[in-house]
Symmetry: C3
Subunit: 362 residues, 3 copies
């Protein structure tokens, strides 16, 4: 695979007909304007008095002034440059100097709107053909609004193309090395078990038993080693939904490959939702939430802090890694690349993404 397929002006490198995570719901306070660039398009999101969200192109139809520099008037939005007022449908409903002359606002005075849905604690934007926007395509993830899990949430901005981050997230092989001192608990050797990688609709599914996983500091159990089970789906354009559980040693052996026996009770379990959103060709925003089961949280409200500290340490390890990789990629050397076992996930997901993009352009 090409490591990065060139810039968006040269190649088609984005899927458009899909839901991108643009923000955490909590980031959209009432009467705040939230700007973000997604696949090189400036977008502005805000919340109406009803609480419903609006997503508009963040460029006035007059002279491309970012509307996010303007201000809300009720549910409408006033551009700070010449005072054009837009309603939440992107329709310009007032041009002050035209109003003065009694002129109607022409029908082509509009800014693009983007289908926006709030679900699982996230704000999802559809960047493609509006008539194809379908809520059912929103990945069925579990977020901070779940009654079953207690999650913290955050984000990191990357100076890197989103494909490199997707590669990272669809590969478990790097945990033993990049995250040796965080997720791998100091022991590379415990993390070599082969994951099962399966093609699923609009993505891939990865599952793995890590036998002999060192006990986490925040675990209640008394054993030193556990069998860790991980399963996650990674869906277009770059959304990860992962369950992890620490089970009594020996559990892995007792289960079918890539599966966990649902009757087994984990000592501790967590869920994480993550999403990679391409902002521009070489910048991306990475959203993540993580936390234990609500029942565990109620018993010990420090568990989530332990998980969160560990996850943030690991995410910074990834950021250092991927941004360093991007700098080498930028040198555009002609050095060849080889594929390894760990690439099954990244390669399979890139094929899914490529097909999605090809279908869109067909």
């Amino acid at each position: 695979m090409d490591i990065i397929k060139g810039t968006s002006s040269e190649n088609k490198i984005w899927a458009r007909n899909c839901w991108y995570v643009a923000a955490w719901s909590k980031d959209l306070a009432e009467h705040e304007l939230y700007p973000i660039t997604i696949i090189n398009k400036p977008v502005l999101i805000y919340r109406k008095k009803s609480g419903d969200l609006v997503a508009l192109a963040d460029q006035c139809c007059h002279r491309h002034m970012p509307l996010s520099k303007g201000s809300l008037e009720g549910d409408d939005l006033r551009c700070m440059y010449h005072g054009l007022k837009f309603n939440s449908l992107g329709r310009c409903i007032e041009v002050p100097t035209m109003k003065l002359c009694g002129d109607e606002v022409p029908e082509n005075f509009v800014v693009e709107t983007y289908p926006v849905v709030e679900r699982h604690g996230w704000v999802w934007l559809w960047m493609g053909d509006k008539e194809k926007a379908d809520d059912a395509l929103i990945p069925p993830t579990t977020g901070p609004d779940s009654p079953d899990w207690f999650m913290h949430q955050g984000h990191l901005d990357y100076e890197a193309n989103y494909l490199l981050i997707n590669d990272n997230l669809t590969d478990l092989g790097h945990i033993a090395y990049t995250h040796k001192n965080s997720f791998a608990g100091g022991r590379s050797d415990a993390y070599f078990n082969q994951p099962r990688v399966q093609k699923i609709d609009r993505g891939i599914r990865i599952t793995r038993w890590n036998t002999n996983s060192p006990k986490r500091a925040y675990q209640k159990g008394s054993a030193d080693l556990y069998d860790q089970f991980m399963t996650y789906d990674f869906l277009v354009p770059g959304v990860l939904m992962m369950y992890q559980g620490m089970y009594e040693a020996g559990s892995a052996e007792a289960c079918e490959y890539g599966m966990v026996d649902k009757n087994l009770e984990p000592d501790t379990a967590s869920f994480t939702s993550q999403a990679v959103t391409p902002m521009t060709d070489d910048t991306s925003r990475y959203f993540f939430a993580w936390g234990p089961r609500m029942v565990e949280h109620i018993e010990n409200n420090q568990i989530v802090e332990g998980m969160w500290a560990l996850a943030n340490k690991a995410f910074l390890e990834d950021k250092v890694t991927i941004e360093a990789q991007q700098k080498i990629v930028n040198l555009k050397t002609s050095a060849p690349m080889v594929s390894i076992t760990d690439d099954r996930g990244p390669s399979m997901f890139r094929r899914v993404l490529d097909s999605t993009i090809e279908e869109e352009n067909a």
Copy 2:
């Protein structure tokens, strides 16, 4: 109109046969070297012992070392790299190592000179064909050297193409919004009167009565509301000369559209000179002076401070606006643009500029 016509290497986006403001006269102290890049050309300006100005290409004819890193020797200029000495005509008059050998300096050892004129407190450079340089084309503005006005002067550097700044300055519609809390005194509604926009030689003329203008803090009059009259010419390449007067309420109605009765005495009046100079494709320098009538200044020397503080607040509002607009423009989205009444000034001036550029290239 295209919002920005591409880079200078692709398109003709500059007028060359015109006078650009390069500096304030006061910035050219004796024996100081003032470098500035104008339309992508490095220029160096300095003052001779006589006080006359010299403008040379800021690149030695030897290896393009900027001469502004060198030093003056009388009225001559010594390059700091190999010691080439240039006289104020751009002629190399000494090459140290050639002098040692008794060799004459060849005739092609020259750097470009630019016609330079000091007028109205400004230093004007002609960047085009020298034989066409004509002082009469210098906009007849009024500067800090005027006996009738008392002005402060300054400049701001922009990370933006100059066309976006010209658009801003040829449009009064944005005052009610961008400058609601500065020039508009907190009241967008007072600033909707339609200006008169006229084509004049090498530019446009804009006039407007703003009825019910809130009294400025620095005004002496006792009324709360005034009728504000503004008139300005905006000339190639981007020079603004504006008179403003605050008149007794009702004055506007008594006057012809776009005119002020010269017998009317303003409560307060001011003059501002401004100039936009393209440095490179995406950077510009914006020069401005502002102040009250000398008679008002003599009576109350705090008026100029009030005007200056207000103007500087407003200029920073413009800088925030235009630099934000430039960032969106840089994303090169395909979003369409519409025109509004406020564009009469910008559109008319862009046509003037386009004609000027076309004539030059004909």
Copy 3:
């Protein structure tokens, strides 16, 4: 000559079949990873337990992760991303997930290696065809490991193309101006004597007597003026080896042009080794060592400090000069350039370099 021949992607601007200085030997501590980009190629250098050096491409053969982010395991190198382990021959000897499956590492799992030689206190890399790498082509310089000289060593990074730095170093004319207040002791007039410039194998040789050179602060002699003799070779790709001696006034006249009588005893003498290494198209690393004869150092261990302070002052003067020149060059004006006597060295060396590049591409 073109001042810079365009970017490496457009033109051939580098010699490849030559030894580039990559580091000072002392910078390669045991078990430290030293990354540097040379002619746009990322390289990693480290020292084996034996003390021998290894130079590898600093990009894993898997996904171009910089290996310099990894860690040493004995003499082998572990990539921090997926744990690929490379031996010092660039051969991948372990892919953890393949090892788990009992798979052999394929033969094409390799990273480029670069011939590396440690000599004269420097680490030299051969960036071209390996079979042509020949130690005999390493410039026969004198470094901090010499028993005859006592040198300090350092480096500066430039935001400039390396050709502009080579030009600077092959021209003595600029000393009188750029270095008037450092090397020239405040007196431009003392530095006009013409150097002798000769073509030698893979470079040029420059020699000069500067008569009436002001006494250096660190000199022991009692006279105020000396005759300074300088001789240096400047070899592909940009390596300078210079001897300087301060001799009793009148010595120059007594010697043959461009020569020094070996029986003359200098009041003080120094040796400097310098090297210019192109990192990318517009960045370079400049290495330098400087110091007095060991016999002088033993007598007065402050001499080296005086020389070092003077040299560092002068090197910063060059950096300011050349980076300013580069900024003007970046504007790509069409201003013509002329040649002067001082260009004999730069022109002759550029021809040597051009021939080298042409031969390589033939």
